[in-house]
């Protein structure tokens, strides 16, 4: 049975979040994003302040609790059930926008850097820092990481035009862009016929007016800052859900529409602002990094990694953690993908008589759902088992500043019991695995209708290996150490 993919025609009737009473009306307000950003910004400021001035005990500090338990959990769950709403409510962009009232960016991001390599590097840097410096156990460092994030966003977008930080650098943004390919909502055109007749293209250009004095113009409404031209936009990659296009469109023709999750991963259509998936080595590398860094991040929380590091340390006669951790990173994020993906690409290339490089790039995206399942399994574990811990920590923080209205901290509040969470984790892994199989199968159907199973098989095998590793990891006893060589 053919499972050929059908990204729904925009003319089809689809659920549109912007048509939901009240919510849709709210989101279409020009300052809706700012109103969403302000509370998140306030929470971020509280996290930073508590991280700096509060108790330096990780489970009792809002900086660590909110960052490493709640933020990550909410982020991945919202991506699963809706879309990239964190970027919509991004507090860094609130500060960036305020900053741009003071400093007008003058430069364009260098052409050579207009790709995902910088984002991958920063993403890897944050993950490495998380493991190497045990950021989960350090409120002060977590607070400075958050504050630094604000600073870098402000600096980059203070110097460079458009959404340079979001599109090319922001590690959370890169994570969201890839993860949101499995989301059920996307910002999309409601009726392409309206776009065909549109003369102004405000969704990409924005609206400007002649400026006062020396200023050439003032921006009345921004167009898409990540260069996604709505009529040719497909999917969620690089879309920050900022809704600038929604506000800019003079025909009210852009909505937040439902769609089939993961379908965009098997499409090789020419996308505005992105090009074809099969020609984007950097984007495919980001997808692969997304998948294998999920393994690495989970691996850092179980005992076998410490044994591996001890063994490495004894072989190399060193206990220098950055080196040992770096080697584990290289093994999991570079060598393991190479060992799994290159043979799969070679086999499927031979069967389909297509170029192996193209096969490698296109099928790399098929792994995203299984990677998403791993992230979901990991982050939802911390989020659900520690769901209520934010309450006593907030009570304690309020007590510390003399507010006792909310009572003494109820330290016994935790979250869901492990026996409830583990089946959900397993469900997340299986769901991701199924998504990857579907994407691989659809790609194989496109490549050769008569040899679908043969092309599909090596990639399905990669999915199986990833699933087995993920399940094995999940079943390992947790071991959360700040120092790898300790104990």
């Amino acid at each position: 049975m053919a499972l050929s993919q059908h990204i729904p025609d925009v003319q089809e009737r689809r659920f549109d979040l912007l048509r939901v009473p009240m919510l849709g009306r709210f989101l279409k307000q020009k300052h809706a994003r700012t109103l969403l950003q302000i509370p998140v910004f306030i929470v971020a400021v509280v996290m930073v302040l508590h991280g700096i001035f509060g108790p330096q005990i990780s489970p009792k500090n809002l900086s660590t609790v909110l960052t490493w338990v709640h933020f990550r959990g909410v982020l991945i769950l919202v991506l699963l059930v809706a879309g990239n709403f964190f970027c919509m409510a991004c507090p860094f962009m609130l500060v960036r926008n305020a900053g741009r009232r003071l400093f007008k960016p003058r430069w364009n991001w260098p052409r050579a850097l207009r790709n995902k390599w910088g984002g991958i590097l920063l993403f890897a840097g944050v993950l490495f820092a998380y493991e190497n410096f045990s950021l989960w156990s350090r409120p002060l460092w977590t607070a400075w990481l958050t504050a630094g994030y604000f600073g870098i966003a402000l600096l980059v977008d203070g110097l460079f035009e458009h959404a340079t930080f979001c599109k090319y650098l922001c590690p959370i943004g890169q994570f969201n862009f890839i993860a949101s390919t499995v989301s059920p909502l996307e910002v999309a055109v409601r009726d392409h016929g309206v776009c065909d007749r549109c003369q102004t293209k405000d969704c990409i250009r924005g609206r400007r007016a002649a400026g006062p004095g020396a200023e050439k113009f003032v921006i009345l409404q921004r167009g898409c800052e990540t260069a996604l031209f709505q009529p040719r936009k497909e999917g969620n990659v690089d879309c920050t859900f900022c809704l600038d296009c929604v506000h800019a469109c003079p025909h009210d023709n852009v909505g937040i529409l439902s769609r089939e999750p993961v379908a965009e991963l098997s499409s090789n259509a020419l996308r505005s602002g992105i090009g074809r998936f099969s020609r984007r080595v950097d984007l495919a590398a980001l997808a692969v990094f997304f998948v294998f860094s999920a393994l690495m991040n989970a691996l850092g929380m179980v005992a076998p990694v410490y044994s591996m590091e001890k063994w490495l340390g004894s072989v190399l006669r060193t206990e220098w953690q950055p080196l040992l951790l770096g080697l584990v990173f290289v093994a999991v994020i570079v060598l393991l993908p190479a060992v799994l993906l290159l043979p799969a690409a070679a086999v499927s290339s031979r069967v389909s008589a297509r170029n192996w490089r193209e096969m490698l790039l296109r099928y790399s995206y098929s792994l995203v759902p299984v990677g998403f399942g791993m992230w979901l399994s990991h982050y939802s574990f911390h989020f659900l088992t520690g769901l209520l811990t934010v309450i006593p920590v907030t009570q304690s923080a309020l007590n510390d500043i003399g507010i006792y209205a909310f009572g003494d901290p109820m330290w016994t509040l935790m979250g869901l019991p492990l026996r409830w969470v583990q089946p959900l984790q397993m469900g997340a892994l299986v769901m991701g695995f199924a998504g990857s199989l579907i994407v691989s199968w659809r790609l194989a159907e496109e490549d050769a209708e008569d040899r679908v199973a043969a092309i599909f098989a090596p990639w399905a095998a990669v999915d199986v290996v990833l699933l087995v590793i993920a399940v094995w990891l999940m079943l390992q006893p947790m071991d959360m150490r700040a120092t790898l060589m300790a104990g």
Partner: protein
């Protein structure tokens, strides 16, 4: 415009400065009371262990009749903590059970109320609790 930039610079400087103040304040009462917590196991593992706590005044006399509550928590947020109360075993000596629920690093917090009503708060890090007892 110039004033706004100055205000941002001043705010940033204050934030950094205040961060430093906080760290200095934490050391103020360290010298007045000596609290020495010692875990019974040299190589702690998942399960129940015993924490011995020695309380001494500034000049060395044992401090009796203190109430010590012990919180044992992982250094990762969102994990299950365990609480216990220490009991006196000898002059200035106390013992409390501590529960390690999984392998990893822990923070043990001691909330101490001395016989004269003064309160103290101390923390101690326990690194590398193993999943199983170390094989001999």
């Amino acid at each position: 415009m110039y004033l706004r930039r100055q205000a941002i610079a001043v705010a940033a400087t204050c934030l950094i400065g205040l961060s430093g103040c906080h760290r200095g304040q934490a050391r103020l009462d360290d010298a007045s009371i000596r609290v020495t917590p010692t875990l019974a196991s040299a190589h702690p593992h998942v399960g129940t262990d015993t924490l011995a706590i020695q309380l001494r005044g500034a000049n060395g006399p044992p401090l009796n009749d203190a109430r010590i509550s012990v919180e044992t928590e992982m250094n990762h947020p969102g994990m299950v903590p365990s609480n216990s109360t220490a009991t006196g075993t000898a002059p200035g000596e106390y013992r409390a059970p501590v529960e390690f629920t999984m392998a990893g690093d822990y923070v043990i917090e001691l909330h101490i109320r001395l016989a004269d009503g003064r309160t103290l708060h101390r923390t101690t890090d326990i690194r590398g609790v193993d999943a199983k007892p170390e094989a001999n």
